[in-house]
Point group: C2
Chain length 224, copies 2
């Protein structure tokens, strides 16, 4: 069901949503104020660098020079991970289009995926109304969490409170993707042989023609 960014990019481009123009970028020993230099081979790129600097100047960095950065999957809406950024990390993300953070424990920049190859490819960056919180909206190359989970948020507090044993195996999915997950589970179960009359859901999941005919039938109610 996942509607991918790539599949929709062409239609979205018509209204210029989520299609930031790519920037020229090359590694160089020259360092600007933001420590990241765009290829300054023409006035356009110099102007772009000035805009980036201006934008970075306007972020409300905390007393440690940091802001919160939240990486979100643009297709599923899943919050993948949360880290912190300093001026350089945010600037690097904007120019490289790979989600980059500042490690508070190691006091270094790190790009998600630099060891696992599971980069988060940035489509847009959003700043909140207070200018101290940032969203990295992107598509991940693979699982984001070091545990192999799709996201780092797989521990439900309410599951833990209701039943300790059930915790740790449920992602923080939004409604539509929760429903998709449940239907997928039902579909897996439907391959197990069963005695007696099958349930209506099981019949739908094992009979594509029946399923399609029902979808066609109910589409008729969409505008009634």
């Amino acid at each position: 069901m996942a509607v991918s960014y790539n599949a929709l990019a062409q239609s979205l481009a018509r209204s210029s949503c989520f299609i930031p123009k790519p920037y020229s970028f090359r590694d160089t020993k020259l360092r600007s104020r933001s420590n990241v230099v765009f290829a300054c081979n023409d006035n356009k790129n110099i102007a772009l660098q000035a805009k980036v600097d201006n934008l970075l100047d306007r972020i409300k960095w905390d007393d440690k020079g940091l802001a919160v950065a939240i990486a979100q999957n643009v297709d599923t809406g899943a919050v993948l991970m949360q880290g912190f950024v300093n001026r350089e990390a945010l600037s690097t993300t904007i120019s490289s289009r790979k989600a980059t953070f500042f490690s508070r424990s190691r006091s270094t920049l790190w790009t998600k995926g630099e060891t696992s190859n599971n980069f988060i490819n940035i489509l847009d960056v959003y700043v909140d109304c207070d200018r101290d919180s940032i969203i990295y909206l992107g598509t991940p190359d693979g699982p984001t969490c070091h545990t192999g989970e799709e996201t780092c948020y797989y521990t439900s507090v309410f599951d833990q409170l209701n039943n300790d044993e059930a915790s740790g195996n449920k992602l923080a999915l939004t409604t539509l993707y929760s429903l998709e997950s449940i239907i997928s589970k039902r579909k897996e179960e439907s391959t197990v042989p069963q005695e007696g009359k099958p349930s209506w859901t099981r019949r739908l999941l094992t009979d594509d023609a029946l399923l399609c005919s029902k979808i066609r039938y109910f589409v008729g109610y969409l505008y009634n």
Copy 2:
């Protein structure tokens, strides 16, 4: 298009997703370690309070006793706002089911909606793998941002860099909801009289029968 939590709650309940059991809660002068007391009129609630305390003990609070909390709309996936929580704020959210934060500038708890009535009603709370970042998954009663926007993230960095004038009017929506937003705009535009032959999109948007017939037709490809 928004698939609401409430509409799906019954089906989801069968697999116990997103249906935390409600807790008894009453305001009382008795204060526990977490400063929030569940109605301790039976052993079940005493056990529940112990579980909450245990969970709060395991959060990795920073040197100021805080953790990041991200409020997300369970239906659309939109990140609504981001704040910080201390032990008391998280405990209050768990018991009251209203997203509650700790204001670093005022050094007080605050519940989103306490002045605007736009509460964020909590359906589940997730903790990340490092146990220092939290998602409040919920449904907002109204716009979350004090500016009246649905979310606090309405400033696109790439829009700002591409064209300063275009910034400030685009929410950080995921792909499916971006598409919905674009279709809605096209639909609005379709009410304006136009000369010449209408585009195919305009025809679909102004002719429900044609639109439904096309949906029915393409449903046939779902399983082919």
